[in-house]
């Protein structure tokens, strides 16, 4: 008999190797969360700088109250999918609110952002179609593409000319074409050059989807994301997003103006065959989205904090993932062993960031990844800069 788990031996070995180098980077425990930017980790109060809690909204009193009331009124869980058990009024209210916020005709809410990508990719594209996806796409996009059964063509990251070339190569083939890009890329913090992609769209004709997971609520004058910032919303056919970052809850969504958009509800297995999100999660998402709309100053604070961290790291001479101010600020490190060492030293000194290693990163990069929050104080940002100065600046150079 072949043991099915044998194939994971190299993963187990790598994990064991990492464990011998110190704290378990993938199994870290937050013993207590004190605020959007503080947790107790290993008995120490730690600054959180790797949570994607961009708006710092997770402890907002109104959001917590909305969640508590929804749980009291609708119960702890929905115990089934919306297709089987029906929707709760809250689901529909959230979809309507989100459609209003996004200025889109239709919006469908999913249980997670991961499922939103699985659902949208597989609902939009089928075996006769082709999906062109950015090389650095999130795993949920890759998995959604696989689920769709479509032909998958990967183009070079953020390279509209390369997409143009690949579209030309496949000219004349049957089926529709979907192009998928992201607003802010989660590892390096860089943004898709949307205007360039829109120009290619006008040349070749395809449907364009943007995953605004890290940019929804964060970018643009109205907080609608990168398409809002770039002024190209009319040319983006479909938007995907998550509630797990700026919204501080759990869930995801797909949105668009297509007249048949609602039909997708009956064509997306990751929507149909999983339980809908819990009343508490839906209600906190709803309250948080209303705050994102009503309190643009949160975005200003996030921008100011991001600019401060970016300038501080630049001053230290660190090699960063992208050369513009972004709420995701990744520092490139030389190799896996030194990155793990520095990650541990930062944690011991009282700041938590993400460690990102190949194959989870583009171009085999080893990264210490920070995500900035509107809830960080300038003092927090300065402490993070000082600690990176002490722990990383002397060692990070690749």
């Amino acid at each position: 008999m072949i043991d099915l788990l044998d194939k994971h031996k190299t993963i187990a070995e790598r994990h064991a190797r990492m464990m011998t180098m110190g704290v378990n980077a993938v199994g870290l425990t937050n013993d207590k969360i004190l605020s959007p930017t503080r947790a107790m980790i290993n008995g120490r109060e730690t600054i959180l700088a790797g949570t994607n809690n961009y708006m710092g909204i997770t402890f907002d009193v109104d959001c917590i109250k909305a969640g508590q009331e929804a749980m009291a009124e609708f119960g702890t869980g929905t115990t089934g999918s919306r297709i089987a058990n029906g929707s709760y009024a809250l689901h529909k209210e959230l979809e309507a609110e989100l459609a209003r916020f996004l200025k889109r005709k239709h919006c469908i809410v999913f249980t997670t952002g991961y499922q939103a990508n699985l659902g949208m990719m597989s609902g939009l594209a089928g075996p006769k179609d082709t999906i062109f996806l950015d090389a650095d796409s999130h795993s949920s996009i890759y998995d959604g593409c696989t689920l769709s059964g479509a032909k998958l063509v990967r183009f070079r990251h953020n390279d509209a000319t390369d997409l143009d070339k690949r579209l030309t190569r496949s000219e004349g083939e049957e089926g529709g074409r979907l192009v998928v890009v992201e607003g802010i890329y989660s590892m390096l913090g860089d943004r898709a050059p949307l205007a360039d992609f829109v120009a290619v769209k006008k040349k070749h004709g395809f449907q364009l989807l943007a995953d605004e997971a890290h940019s929804f609520g964060v970018l643009g004058p109205h907080g609608r994301g990168l398409a809002d910032e770039a002024g190209v919303e009319d040319d983006i056919d479909f938007i995907v997003g998550t509630f797990s970052k700026s919204v501080g809850a759990i869930g995801g969504f797909g949105a668009g103006n297509h007249p048949m958009f609602e039909t997708l509800r009956y064509a997306m297995r990751p929507y149909m065959f999983t339980a809908s999100s819990s009343p508490a999660s839906i209600a906190t998402s709803l309250a948080a989205i209303r705050k994102l709309a009503a309190e643009p100053e949160r975005r200003d604070r996030l921008r100011a904090n991001s600019a401060r961290l970016f300038a501080g790291f630049k001053g230290l001479g660190l090699d960063m993932g992208c050369d513009m101010v972004s709420p995701v600020i990744a520092v490139k490190c030389a190799d896996e062993v030194s990155t793990i060492g520095m990650w541990n030293a930062l944690l011991e000194a009282g700041v938590y960031v993400n460690i990102a290693l190949p194959p989870g990163t583009p171009n085999k990069l080893c990264l210490l990844r920070c995500s900035v929050s509107a809830a960080h104080s300038f003092d927090d940002i300065d402490k993070i800069i000082a600690l990176f100065g002490k722990v990383v600046a002397s060692r990070a150079a690749a």
Partner: protein
């Protein structure tokens, strides 16, 4: 499917920068298993192959090719078609 020796030769040249094992590349070399190349690097390598031959190799096809000769056969078939 048999692949031309020239194609195999060119693929080996394109693969060499991704090969950190020092193992000699032959037509039977399994790209990911023998060379310990992770899934992302395999896709990056295939992109180089696509551009070198100016063809399209969809990811669905990549997942069914294992050895260098498998990939070379795909390249030959697609070059002929183009």
């Amino acid at each position: 499917m048999t692949a031309s020796p020239e194609t195999i030769d060119q693929i080996c040249k394109l693969l060499e920068p991704f090969n950190s094992t020092g193992k000699a590349l032959t037509s039977d070399t399994e790209i990911s298993a023998d060379l310990n190349i992770d899934s992302v690097a395999v896709m990056d390598f295939v992109m180089e192959v696509e551009d070198h031959f100016d063809i399209e190799i969809p990811l669905n096809v990549v997942s069914e090719t294992h050895s260098i000769s498998d990939l070379a056969a795909v390249v030959d078939a697609r070059v002929k078609k183009a």
